[in-house]
Symmetry: C5
């Protein structure tokens, strides 16, 4: 989870390139490794204690999916990397949760970095770093912490639902990536709801500074989501275009479909972004509208009563010779005059549509 | 109709890729299938009860157009897909109303996804998902629901108007796509009218929050329209450039023309978009102008009467020795003074162009 | 003239592609056809009654320029199209005033669509659709209505000024296009004047809503101009790059020059566009400045007289025991106090630079 | 100097293409021609009376630089053009001060158009049109008027400073262009100073409309600078990439360096542009801040004295039975009450941070 | 340090191209040269007095890193340049602190210009110009002044940490560039902190003009950072793509990784840029909110007391015949009436949510 970048940046400064350093924050206590080993007719699922126990599965024939939770266990990652002959820079990227989504093609394997997005219990966006290594007959997935979006895939393998058991490791990689991307739609949907909520708040009475804060918070979230999602377009496109021997021709069709989904996410993110930016303008006009209303009330009251008060003031003067004061009905006539002024001004404001 | 995305996103999460799931909302009761079978000299039109009845038409020689309404009848779509040998991902895209416009070229057929746009009875934009499969001698169109923009095409086939009966299935696909795109001009026109209406409202007296709301609504609509229309550019361009054997050279000229129309729609959408964004600024200045006017009225009234009231207050004081009070014409002189002040200030405001 | 798009869009919906339908508004009564037939040593100018009379000129050897005014005479256009072997889609584009600028290359001819821009007597922008067909030894120009920018070209041909008489039909096409583009500089200049005028208005006293309206009108005009001019860049570039046998190598140099002019128009349009958008901001600050000034006047008056009025009020109270009232010079002392307050506040505002 | 485009646009409308028409404004009285003739060991500098006197220099072997001031002497330009075999369109571009920067490659020569920028004595931006013709062993520069940025180059040739005397005419062209580009840094610097000055003004007390005007003026200047500078990037890139035999391989390194400088100018212009646009926002917030301050003063004064005045008014009423009026210390008690209210409100505003 | 560009621009105007002129400001007293000479088994570190002492190291076999601090010692740079056969334009770029980041490939060496960014003790951004020359077996780094980000690299060489001692000079170049880029993350982080601080300030009570100033300052800083960082993308990409024989294939993988880091910096800069621009809007709404609040207070007070004051004024009039004045409880009744008005208005404002 890369909520706060400060400590992580610090940790890697001045490091030897290729150093495997975990810069995230979510230190899951134990290393968690589980293995799915399967082909069309065979299926085995194991939870391992030691990373070394995974080696025979990788080397054996059936398709193997090894899922590792806990990027803070860097020695285990390094051991596995050595066994699978992974380049040191790859191991660095697996542990470096700051790494942006990317794909790297090596002779013997493919390396993909993605970001899983969640909204946590406080409705705050949290980002989990996830990497995949696709080798000959195996996929290894490295997750920062427990909890993922792969449960339905596990069930598909377990109960042999769909094509998955009859396809290769490249299809498994596709399916895993697809699950990550599908989950983005959830995220986008929550963003959409948040925007709509805020829009409603704008037109109701709410404490004002909160709204500015909330808009700013949404802006930051959408920018984070963009940063996590946008490089994906290039990643999947590269994967689709790549001539790597590990990617089967049949899988390519599915990758194109995945690319389509990413474009869709892309578009939605852009639309929501524009809408969030628009919220600030809306808010501004709402404030101005309210001020306008306040001003009108003040103006109406002041404009009506200031002249009347002046008149009252005139006849409160102590000149010896003010003839009106001595008329018997002077007081009543004055009330009539003041009523005329009062209703005349009301009528004027009515015509000006201020009332 | 993809008004509200929430339920649809949910439905497909964790699905096996290639699953044919209808995620739209408009559940037309029955499946509706009709067939147009024609060539230069022959014409037949049928409404079918079962999807299986369509097979002989597809396999027969004359050009066949099969139109299917009701994407919720996924089993029928799957059956037809199996008969025509369509890839599972295609079937998924036919039923997935969230799919953005695209074109997919397969060995034996072309697959095109478009969006039909309508304004419904409440003047709300609604989007209908439509897909076309162009095979050897046939076009199948899949519509979400009843009602389309193809009536004039049906008549052209029925009464052999224009070139349509003497051209191939690729020309039919062009004509169908052209009808969808032509309809966009209607949509754009309605948007133009809405913008003009709103502009007029801005300069008249209207309840204010409604206008902000209305502008926000227009923004969302134009963004939706963009999302539906923009990928089309690439779709038609790809279709035009494609070397697929199903597209005749003669039809290519028409596709280029279609591309031209799409560019035109494109430009108009962009212009209207800029104008809608400009509305917010206009609205803001309008509010500010009104506030300015309100402020001026207040200022004029207050500035005139506050000094006068002060003078009246002065001669309302009860000092024993205020010589002015004992002048015989003191009261009248004071009125003169106050009139001078009154008209002096009026003249000052006049010169400042506040009146 | 495509002022109002509504009727035109409607007219073409559901039409057979390639239908020649005039969708403009300016119905010039009669068809007007005139012919310039010339080469280095020969010159003939005729006004024709029937479109058929033009055929011999087209087929004859000297360079022929046929100018046709009145796109509503669609039958005549169709007849000529048949004689020159023009594709139906071309004829549709000639009559369709909504068609954006473009170039189409066919085996035997080139087809170019442009827009002529005018400011009419009410200073409103009006757009005229104009198309050119360049064939072997002839140019046909189709104008919506009478009145064009070609008078100087006619004189150059008549009096054999410059190179025109010794060059081919491709040079004639260049010269005609150049005249259209040159005229854009006039249009841009008028826009520049309008912007400057509006800027001046902003700083003088003017009825406010008019300015917002005027800015919005300018925005629309510049967007229309952009739409008419921007596709031209691609048109001339394509023409320059094209290897079509009808374009002589010598003419290409002139086309490059034309391209240069279009870039220049382009740049100016963009600059004026930015300036028009900036006007809204300027206007906003101007309003705010005025409000600020109004507020200051109110604040100064109110802030000075409200305390004074309070003091007068105090000594207008009827308490039995107010010793000040009985001082012989109490009244005069109070005046002194009030003057001190008055000038003290004036001095305060002076120091705050409000005066 | 192309300050005001109106007359110039008019002058060229309807002209035969290739006409040499000077459209600028700065009519230097006499034609001014001077010649630098040099090679490694030889140097000659002459001021010529007649353009024809330049011919032998051009045709002779040593490197020749002919500088011509006074584009209004179009006949002289045409004569020289004929001698050097220049294309009529080139001659048109030399005299047409509206021509944007460009490069044209011909078989026997290269033609480059640039803009020299100055701030004149009133600190107004003025643009001078300058063109270069690079032929075999000579460079001809055409300037609109006297005064240029080449003095240091003249000295380098005179006193054989640096490489210039031992390099070819292509290097001379580079050196001249480099001088023009170097001068842009001065221009940019002045713009930077103007922006900073304006920023300072924003925070001090200044007459307001002037600032809006000034910002608008800066916007126009930066747009003009952009228009003069931006095409240069392409010009130098083209020159660098060109395979023209007149450009030596050794000079290419210097051209790449020149390209670098242009990029740097480019970046600075863009940054200043963003900053100027930002000034408007800054100004807006400054106005709002001031209004806020004004409002606070008004509110504080009004809010304190209005209730006090009300109280004084109450005890100024003439009811027969107002017991408070008869208390001996009523008046003093009231003063105490009013002081309490006064300081209570002051304290309230203090806590609200309005004071 | 290129804080203020004015003097530097001036210095180079009119210079002979290829002149080695230091235009920076930080004149470190003495030239500082130190040498690291190493291979897998050998290590030597020396501080040199004369630039000439470095020659044997460069010519010897082990990898040599020569670091030079003090660009104002231009003669030393020229001497070294002559020894290493560097092009004069390269020497000019080494000393010209205005030079933007770039890479130049020559036959025998590679030349890279970067910018080191620091925040100095006043938290002001300062930029240091740094260039690298990669030759056969050596890297020379030219720094403007003392102090750099290479300390950890020195230790890695000294204590043979990581791969560095067993790799070539190209890897050393990579490591040095990597250190510069890694440091950018620190800079970005500080920018992030500053933005957050400013955001917090916005919602608290602060002197207003400072915030506008501060936002403007941040804008300028982020623009400077962009200018320093953005060209890097192209630099590293070119280095990665280059087929230069000095770059080993193994090092290329590391360069790709460096490219990745630069993209990440890039993205962060863009995000912070958007956020800084957003701050201005936030500030604007904050001001408006405050003004709205001020207005409400004024309106409430004025609206309540103006009518009450009017009533008091009425009964302060001196008409002979005002019957109410003679009622025994008139005064008390009036108080009741005034309380009713008072609380009625309070209730009205409560319902309007102004309180």
């Amino acid at each position: 989870m890369e909520e706060n970048k400060s400590p992580s940046f610090q940790n890697t400064l001045g490091m030897v390139p290729g150093s495997v350093v975990y810069v995230g924050k979510k230190h899951s206590g134990d290393l968690y490794v589980d293995v799915f080993d399967y082909d069309k007719n065979f299926f085995d699922e194991k939870e391992l204690d030691q990373i070394e126990e995974a080696y025979p599965y990788i080397d054996s024939k059936p398709i193997t999916w090894i899922n590792i939770n806990g990027l803070n266990h860097t020695e285990a990652i390094e051991k596995l990397g050595t066994h699978c002959n992974l380049h040191p820079l790859i191991l660095e990227d697996i542990a470096n949760t700051e790494q942006r989504p990317k794909i790297e093609e090596y002779q013997e394997y493919l390396f993909v970095v993605l970001k899983m997005l969640y909204f946590d219990e406080n409705n705050k966006l949290s980002i989990e770093h996830i990497s995949f290594v696709l080798g000959d007959g195996y996929v290894i997935s490295f997750q920062e912490a427990d909890g993922d979006v792969f449960e339905s895939i596990r069930n598909r393998i377990r109960y042999s639902k769909g094509r998955i058991r009859s396809m290769g490791a490249d299809y498994l990689l596709y399916v895993l990536m697809d699950a990550v991307v599908d989950n983005y739609f959830n995220i986008i949907e929550v963003m959409g709801d948040k925007i709509e909520e805020l829009e409603d708040d704008l037109f109701e009475e709410q404490s004002n500074d909160d709204i500015t804060h909330e808009i700013q918070r949404l802006k930051k979230e959408i920018l984070k989501i963009r940063r996590a999602i946008f490089p994906l377009r290039e990643v999947v496109n590269k994967l689709d275009k790549s001539e790597h021997q590990l990617i089967d021709k049949k899988t390519r069709l599915y990758l194109r479909d995945l690319y389509d989904h990413i474009l869709q996410v892309h578009e939605n993110v852009e639309i929501y972004r524009e809408m969030i930016w628009g919220l600030m303008d809306m808010y501004m006009t709402t404030i101005s509208n309210k001020m306008n209303e306040v001003m009108k009330v003040l103006t109406i009251i002041a404009t009506i009563f200031i002249p009347l008060t002046f008149i009252a003031g005139v006849y409160g003067m102590n000149f010896e010779n003010i003839p009106e004061l001595h008329y018997e009905y002077g007081y009543y006539i004055l009330w009539v005059v003041m009523f005329v002024i009062f209703f005349g001004l009301l009528f004027y404001f009515k015509r000006k549509k201020w009332l």
